[in-house]
Symmetry: C2
Subunit: 649 residues, 2 copies
């Protein structure tokens, strides 16, 4: 640590707990930390010296991502990385806050093929796909419909004469639109389309479709395909469109594990299909919560807190250094609740992964009882945490003043990647309403005496009508406060007088209240289980701050019905500020514990060594706009103004 | 309107008021509307057919902006546009949600020269600057210091031997950093530096500095200069850095209107300087509020509301069209409070411009009494409205689902331009604290019996301890609620026991509460003055919604001390939802009234004619990534995977 900025060094000397122990807790054990570090070293060997993403055009970013994809695939093979976590660790360093153009190949194409294809289909396509001789994407959303799947319009009409399906885009809005990697990269896609056979519409079904020639990579006749144009972020991915003009595929290329179209056009249906596709969506959303913490909230706090320890500003007393901006109460009030949220989302994400694997196991043994609850919970949490992550990243950026706005801060890249999660995998408001629908049904069941378990068990509990919060601020009393709010909102949301739409604002708030309660209770149970006293104390403070900040922000929900008294609310505000001072001492260590490499964070402000200014200068000098010193554009547009005589020569 | 989307057409046929009358109200009279439209037609003639900003690299954006600058200057000259409003209208269409590389020449360089320069200096430099043979910027902020001006480090040391100032950057953090147009465009700057003469530091003073050769545009010896690299937005501007290495300028180039350094190094000070520079900052911030509405909030609502009338989705009843998403309560709850905010900020901005001109007049007649109040108010409002505009634009984007994330929506460009205002011209938290400092002083004065006037007069009023809100929701009762909250926060903020830093979170909230009260009361007075009944009704509804939404969002502030009762709060929530239905009918007309050209908004989703999907497809097809169909990168990185045999040939 010889070259570490002295302010950061001092912060690291003054902590009250072992960073390594907290890192192990976050990873899920020392052995996981060790393995992760090993894989990350391999990744850094390959990827630490790349061109600067910030200085590239969109096309260059896409090309660079293709190049890195090839290298990442080679690394995984070379080092025998096959476990999902290991692959994830490597790809995070290959594509920090980016994505590979073939990301949907692994995330959606392969899982759908193996879950929806017959054994014969899997045997035919999987070996090619695993060798990447087929690169596939998953084409579901259309220009006119996203989250509302029943509105999709692409048709697949069976022609028994030729034993083919005719894929067709009957309207402009039916163009497949947005699938990642569809524009330029993939040569195959699983296309979701309305199946028509014998004159009847059987709803959405998956079809394996070759899009481009194996020989030339040109689109096949009958297919128009392309990139949908630049976006807020995700420059590295060719989100694409495809238009089908009576494009024919063999009957055998409908994925037929759960339903078949026979040669004569007879439709044979399975009852298992719905449950299975339900499961894939739940998986993706359950995993997403963890990613939002690791890829969004945690790096954003790391940047803002380290920089706030390095940056000194204002109000100096004579002959003293200006204070670190991390010492300002307003700065702490911006950053520490976000730090607490990063931990809250991370712990919730870990928990959701665990539950998912449990439920997935149960499903494979034929027990689907917990699936609706998990679907509701993952939908609601996906909405709450993606929205929370988005706003928090921007707050971190704004807390870094002017330099936060520079691409050198890393925030712009992180934000545009994370905020997309508010929309993809299900638009957040729709997700909250799906969660609410389940909660209301459950609440009504409980009102009729049904005994509940799991995350909704509180709906059949007796709820306190007065908060038990005292100046001790036990975590139990905080969990209770959120339970009370959630319960109260379910009661409001269940008004049988109102139509669904006329009540939908309240319903979204009810779903959020439920998810907030869930997060606080997960956080509390994690804290209770920590063995090391010093770690337990700091994580407990974060849990308190997470809860108290939310109570203060939503004070009306807690005081309007008298649940929290005026005096208790004054205590809440006092404690909230007093926690800022407590957390101040460990703030830098609490972000160090995330154990991120600088190469992953991608921020000059958030460097581990705190050498911000010198690196900011070096970076600026390498900006492409600085070469050459005097540009052609000067001759063309400025010289005629600045030096009209010379210009006329 | 032959080709207008039928849904939008229907919306426009069903309104309850005259859009033209509301447009005239927003413009400040029919004659202003007419003149604005005339200038905009001239601008469209020149600028309507440009290349697509979204498809350019950063360097191309900068070059394009230089080219447009040259044309905009020519247009202004050709058409004799000299009034600030006229120039603004033209430049908005030349640089929609962008900025010219020479923007600081007009915004800061010229005003500072004419206000701080002696007559001789003005006579020397102004004619050249007006012909753009000098293009100047204003170099104040440094790498290590932004809003905290007293921390700036660049020095200007007088050398009586040669009668020169020696400009020097003594540290890395003293590099001038961020000034717009400094990197590649400007050949001059007014540089703020610490003046040293006869061994004594006299604080910050302005110096006229030539940066680049008139002949070659190369930086002069002793000057290192460049672009600071890419940012979240503002690609068209070369925000720059400059490092001085004992760079000498003649004594005559210190701007000496208010203080002089004589040949022998004697410093002669004026008492007027401080007041004058105070005035420039107040000007910029007072104007900014209006710009945030016109360039940020209003176009964002226009896009989201028009698109929500065109987009149909979900829950169709058999054989009916899917509903317009604007009919969903959740969508209305996202967008209509933002629409109300756009009007609130716009009216507040107009009011601030008026007050500024009044106070500026008073100052020129030697009366500076109102300047501290205007400084406090403009600082607080700048912070509140820039922050509000930022979040609201992102909410609008998110309300447009996946397509909102596409650059085609226009949102990314609008957001990155507007959110910068949270930091530039004074970091928002610092601004709120400056506002609070004035409020606390004033509150304490009032407590000691001092009679107050203007925006702070309520601090010496008697305040109601119970809200007068009834089911009528008179605007007066709403203004009173915000007055009560503001008063209560000033009382909390004035706790004499607490140190400034330990109380600063509360102080920022006190400043926000004050500014919110101010905005609601301005909005109320605008509504009261509207003559046309139909317009008055719709604008009144927006005022109610603006107030009620904020009361609900901050319910704790209003109910905790019993000011608003539990029953009243239930009424608030009911009325809030019922206003959504009222506003629904006129929503499209309320954004049409902003009277924006499609060329200014820059959004396919927000087109006046509503032909979203066809244009989205055309735009995507022209994306540079689509040319050529099969790219070199395929051969290089994909073919070895997809077609290994061919690749080996």
């Amino acid at each position: 640590m010889a070259n570490v900025n002295p302010d950061l060094r001092k912060e690291r000397e003054n902590g009250t707990f072992s960073v390594e122990k907290l890192t192990n807790l976050l990873d899920g054990g020392k052995h996981v930390t060790d393995r992760r570090r090993h894989v990350e070293r391999l990744a850094l060997n390959e990827f630490s010296k790349g061109e600067d993403y910030n200085f590239m055009s969109r096309k260059e970013r896409y090309i660079s991502a293709l190049h890195k994809t090839e290298r990442a695939l080679r690394c995984c093979k070379e080092y025998g990385l096959t476990k999902p976590d290991e692959v994830y660790w490597l790809w995070q360093l290959a594509f920090p806050h980016e994505a590979s153009p073939i990301q949907l190949h692994g995330d959606m194409f392969l899982p759908t093929l193996t879950r929806q294809g017959t054994e014969e289909q899997v045997n035919k396509y999987l070996p090619l796909a695993e060798k990447y001789q087929i690169i596939g994407t998953y084409a579901q959303t259309e220009m006119g419909h996203g989250t509302f799947i029943r509105g999709l319009e692409t048709t697949a009409t069976y022609d028994p004469q030729t034993e083919e399906f005719i894929l067709h885009s009957p309207t402009l809005t039916s163009l497949k639109w947005w699938p990642g990697g569809l524009g330029k990269t993939s040569n195959y896609a699983i296309v979701m389309a309305l199946l028509y056979t014998n004159g009847k519409n059987y709803g959405m079904h998956p079809f394996m479709v070759q899009l481009r020639s194996h020989e030339t990579h040109e689109p096949l006749p009958g297919i128009t395909i392309g990139d949908i144009g630049p976006k807020f972020g995700f420059d590295t991915i060719d989100n694409g469109f495809v238009q089908f003009d009576h494009f024919r595929i063999p009957r055998e290329d409908m994925l037929m594990k759960y339903s078949q179209v026979l040669k004569d056009g007879t439709y044979v249906k399975s009852t298992k299909l719905k449950k299975s596709s339900y499961g894939v969506m739940v998986l993706v959303r359950s995993m997403l919560i963890y990613y939002l913490a690791i890829q969004g909230l945690a790096p954003a706090c790391t940047i803002a807190i380290r920089y706030s320890a390095v940056r000194r500003q204002s109000e100096q007393t004579k002959s003293q250094l200006e204070p670190q901006i991390l010492d300002y109460q307003t700065q702490q009030y911006k950053l520490f609740p976000i730090l607490a949220s990063a931990y809250a989302v991370l712990f919730t994400g870990v928990k959701m992964k665990e539950i998912y694997y449990e439920v997935d196991n149960e499903i494979q043994q034929g027990h689907t009882e917990r699936l609706p609850e998990l679907h509701a919970l993952s939908s609601g949490l996906k909405a709450l945490t993606s929205s929370m992550a988005s706003w928090c990243i921007e707050r971190c950026r704004l807390a870094c003043g002017g330099h936060g706005y520079s691409a050198a801060s890393g925030f712009p890249k992180i934000y545009v990647a994370v905020t997309a999660a508010c929309t993809y995998e299900g638009e957040n408001t729709v997700m909250l309403l799906q969660c609410a629908r389940y909660l209301i049904k459950t609440y009504q069941g409980a009102s009729n005496g049904k005994k509940l378990s799991g995350s909704v068990s509180y709906l059949s509990d007796k709820v306190n009508s007065r908060s038990t919060i005292t100046s001790e601020f036990s975590l139990k009393s905080l969990v209770d406060a959120f339970k009370h709010r959630a319960f109260r909102f379910q009661a409001c949301g269940s008004d049988p007088e109102d139509s669904w739409n006329r009540n939908s604002v309240v319903l979204t708030k009810a779903a959020e209240a439920h998810c907030y309660y869930y997060m606080v209770s997960v956080f509390e149970s994690v804290v209770e289980a920590v063995e090391d006293d010093a770690v337990k104390r700091v994580v407990g403070q974060l849990c308190q701050l997470f809860a108290l900040f939310a109570i203060h922000e939503n004070a009306g929900d807690f005081v309007q019905d008298g649940f929290i008294s005026n005096d208790q609310m004054e205590l809440v505000k006092w404690k909230e500020l007093s926690l800022l001072s407590d957390i101040r001492r460990n703030a830098v260590l609490l972000v160090d514990a995330f154990d991120f490499h600088d190469e992953f964070i991608g921020s000059i402000l958030g460097r581990f060594d705190g050498n911000v200014y010198a690196n900011l200068f070096e970076w600026a000098k390498s900006s492409p706009l600085n070469k050459p010193e005097v540009q052609e554009s000067y001759i063309k547009y400025l010289q005629p103004l600045l030096n009209p005589n010379k210009s006329k020569l």
